[in-house]
């Protein structure tokens, strides 16, 4: 069966790509950066730097499509990284540590989801509270110190010099595989389709017999797994569990999703878009670093890019034929 795409659909798909191509071509053509920017080692570096945000953005995409938000991502990553470090230091296997990291993320997500679904507290408030609770729990567990791990096979997961397949460290591949699975899940499973339905019209979904509460808990729990895995990679990057790490990272994650076409009012967003959104931010930072642009300037430019990307998205929406 052939599919016909309307111009707007094509724009939705291509929009983030065009943004990415734009950012990349700027640095590829800039005389100061073109020598290093498009090189293989630099591409690997950027990919590696993007992984943590990208993984968390998988979950955030689901949450934002369902018209929710999660502000506790950064804290949960720190908590998971501490849990991973503690598990390894107490002599358990790296595999168990990885599971523990994912499980603690899932637990946090399930708590978020349950409070949102059952007590009907808005996601913003619930996860704002969790931002504090998870960070506090991480520092408590770590006794306000960094927890050093031991050498395990987790360590090279995010090492750009680890030379995995195509030169990419295995953490990048993990994120890529999960991204593909999540995108397929969103498009081809009942759960995925129901996420869009809930985000577009929760009342109509409930009256159509959808288990809205259960689905919401599922969304936040699954997103929690991704965040937990991001915590595992965070541990791998630093070689230690750091309770103060990833502070404010949730804002990068949310930015990645909205740059990629996610709508905070729900019903819209895509995994591919979010990944590209994360890459756009990474390439900007990377290019600026090579160029030697000061930190504060990077912050300003990235801030402008976020607003500009969403503005373009709104303009596109306005041009749609009315109902």
């Amino acid at each position: 069966m052939t599919k016909r795409f309307e111009p707007q659909q094509i724009m939705t798909l291509l929009g983030p790509f065009i943004g990415l191509a734009l950012v990349m071509s700027i640095f590829a053509l800039d005389p100061e950066t073109k020598g290093t920017f498009l090189t293989r080692p630099n591409m690997i570096t950027v990919a590696t730097q993007t992984v943590i945000v990208a993984l968390a953005a998988l979950g955030m995409t689901l949450i934002i499509i369902s018209a929710g938000i999660d502000l506790s991502v950064g804290s949960t990553i720190a908590l998971a990284s501490v849990v991973v470090a503690l598990t390894i230091r107490t002599g358990h296997s790296a595999a168990l540590a990885l599971l523990a990291g994912a499980a603690v993320g899932m637990l946090v997500g399930a708590i978020n989801g349950s409070l949102i679904a059952v007590l009907k507290v808005t996601p913003f408030i619930v996860t704002l509270g969790m931002l504090g609770v998870a960070r506090g729990a991480a520092r408590w567990l770590a006794r306000d110190e960094s927890i050093l791990g031991k050498p395990t096979w987790l360590d090279p997961l995010l090492d750009p010099s680890a030379h995995g397949i195509l030169g990419l460290p295995s953490g990048v591949w993990l994120a890529l595989i999960l991204a593909v699975l999540t995108a397929l899940m969103l498009k081809y499973t009942v759960f995925g389709r129901h996420i869009f339905a809930i985000g577009s019209n929760e009342t109509a979904s409930r009256l159509s017999g959808l288990r809205v509460d259960g689905i919401k808990i599922g969304i936040y729990a699954l997103a929690g797994v991704f965040v937990g895995l991001a915590g595992v990679l965070q541990y791998a990057r630093l070689g230690q569990g750091d309770s103060t790490v990833a502070s404010g990272l949730e804002l990068d994650v949310i930015a990645a999703v909205v740059i990629g076409g996610g709508s905070l009012t729900g019903g819209e967003g895509s995994i591919l878009g979010s990944i590209i959104g994360a890459l756009i931010m990474s390439f900007l930072r990377n290019g600026f670093q090579i160029k030697g642009v000061p930190d504060y300037m990077q912050l300003i430019v990235i801030g402008v890019v976020i607003v500009a990307a969403v503005t373009v998205d709104r303009l596109r929406h306005r041009s749609q034929a009315p109902g």
């Binding site: 499973t189 009942v190 759960f191 019209n201 959808l210 009315p322």
Partner: protein, 487 residues
């Protein structure tokens, strides 16, 4: 006398549809022009162009004979054009006076300050002038729909509105409220305001309108003085063919009892409700708004958690599993996911049926969706079309398809034809016949008395949360129902 407003040869196209193919209309000062047409005829697009929310591809708009351009809703307001939409643009948290004067609040002593006293005074003056008895200090969210509508009209007047367009203003009002609205429209007319009145209700249009302009498929198919045209002619022009029978009811031999409600009570709302529905039957719940009709439906559908003893649905999910479908009163808010496709809406309640291990079989889903588009005659370019872009009648058919796919044995239809034009109404009635013929039972809630009399096999009349009486088709008359509703 030259026209207050004249729109000439307005054209507007969207990708795939030419919504307006050169429409012209005139409104004189102190006149009510009824703009009629089925959903999708182009009324809304025309009004959006007048409101500055959309731009015409070509054509001219003139006010008092002077050509104007309306690039934004703001410039429409400056030109004295006010639109009263079905969904009001009011700020629920603010009070009546603040809503009426929003955007041009009277200045106080200090620069940038607002004089509350002047504001209340001015708001009161406007409300008095239209004969609306609403406190200027009331919070808008605490007002009834009819009162909110009055606030919208007052707002339009405070902005020196000379041309006021009302989109189905009577749709959500009760009879006495409609009377008050009509009195208000007469006042406006007397003060020289030009009014464009959009409605599906022919009887109203005959009463209130001076002239009628009828649109069909983006073209003006007729216009004239309201009293010369008459109801039959207007309907014929709207639909494009004479409408032989408004209620094509087919009576079936009822089968076994599908739903038996006994002793259904909910404190303060429902007392000891009892009735039954057989397969192939249409039972109507009649009664005034607030008599408990909708609550009965919501109980049966598991939305309210106190119900009959043996079948006690705790959620809509339970009810759906038991073979019940609910066609809600409010299609857009509760029935459909407007931003999604026809296909996604049709299968919303039954996606699991097309899935193995949670993975949706797209081909099977699409063919089921297409099948119901064909059998119900849903007019949509493809099953991938956004439901929000369909007309009201077609949207309602999509809701119907959703429940047919779940193989509902009992369909609860709450105001099944509200906001649907005449032609599409008859199609919905035909579909109801088809459904009952195949053994589906229908519980219909309707405020439209002719519809109740025309389509129901039996009528359960409710009053004050209890059953006031039951009438069968033969003994049901408007009078008999009226007696039960009111005594």
């Amino acid at each position: 006398m030259s026209a207050l407003l004249s729109m000439t040869d307005i054209k507007k196209g969207y990708p795939g549809v030419q919504a307006l193919k050169g429409v012209s209309l005139n409104v004189r000062a102190g006149e009510v022009l009824a703009l009629m047409g089925e959903n999708g005829a182009g009324k809304s697009t025309l009004i959006k162009i007048l409101a500055g929310a959309e731009r015409a591809d070509s054509g001219t708009i003139a006010i008092d004979g002077t050509p104007v351009s309306i690039p934004s809703t703001h410039s429409a307001m400056d030109l004295g054009i006010a639109i009263i939409y079905q969904e009001f643009n009011l700020l629920g948290h603010l009070n009546v006076a603040e809503n009426i004067l929003i955007g041009h609040e009277p200045a106080g002593l200090l620069p940038g300050s607002i004089s509350t006293a002047k504001m209340r005074q001015e708001a009161q003056r406007i409300l008095d002038s239209i004969g609306a008895h609403i406190s200027v200090d009331a919070r808008v969210s605490s007002l009834s729909v009819a009162q909110q509508q009055m606030v919208e009209i007052a707002k339009a007047i405070s902005r020196k509105g000379r041309i006021i367009a009302m989109d189905e203003p009577s749709a959500t009002l009760t009879e006495p409220e409609i009377e008050r609205l009509f009195a208000l429209i007469q006042n406006l007319r007397a003060s020289g305001v030009g009014i464009i009145y959009i409605s599906h209700r022919i009887a109203e249009v005959e009463r209130i309108a001076d002239r009628v302009t009828v649109l069909r498929d983006g073209e003006v198919v007729g216009e004239g003085a309201a009293r010369d045209l008459g109801a039959g002619e207007i309907v014929r022009m709207m639909v494009g063919r004479p409408l032989e029978d408004n209620f094509p009811k087919v009576v079936n031999t009822p089968g076994e009892i599908v739903l038996d409600v006994r002793g259904l009570s909910r404190r303060g709302v429902l007392t000891d409700i009892g009735f039954h529905i057989r397969a192939g039957e249409v039972v109507a719940l009649a009664g005034l708004v607030g008599s408990g009709r909708t609550e009965v439906a919501r109980c049966i559908f598991g939305e309210i958690r106190i119900c009959d003893k043996r079948f006690r649905p705790r959620s809509p999910r339970d009810a759906i599993r038991a073979g019940i479908g609910l066609i809600t009163e409010d299609r857009k808010q509760q029935g459909l996911v407007l931003a999604q496709s026809v296909r996604a809406n049709e299968t919303l309640a039954s996606l699991g049926r097309f899935a193995m291990a949670g993975i949706v079989n797209g081909a099977r889903e699409r063919s089921a969706a297409q099948e119901y588009v064909d059998t119900l005659g849903i007019r949509t370019p493809t099953i991938g079309q956004r439901v929000g872009a369909l007309s009201g009648g077609n949207q309602q058919k999509v809701v119907l398809a959703k429940w047919l796919i779940t193989e509902s044995r009992l369909l609860i239809m709450d105001e099944p034809t509200r906001g649907i034009d005449v032609g599409a109404k008859v199609e919905i009635y035909h579909l109801m016949n088809k459904l009952t013929a195949s053994g589906v039972a229908i519980l219909m809630i309707s405020s439209d008395l002719p519809e109740v009399l025309g389509m129901a096999d039996r009528i359960v009349v409710m009053r004050g949360g209890a059953v006031a009486g039951e009438l069968n088709r033969a003994e049901a008359t408007a009078e008999a129902i009226g007696n039960l509703v009111l005594t």
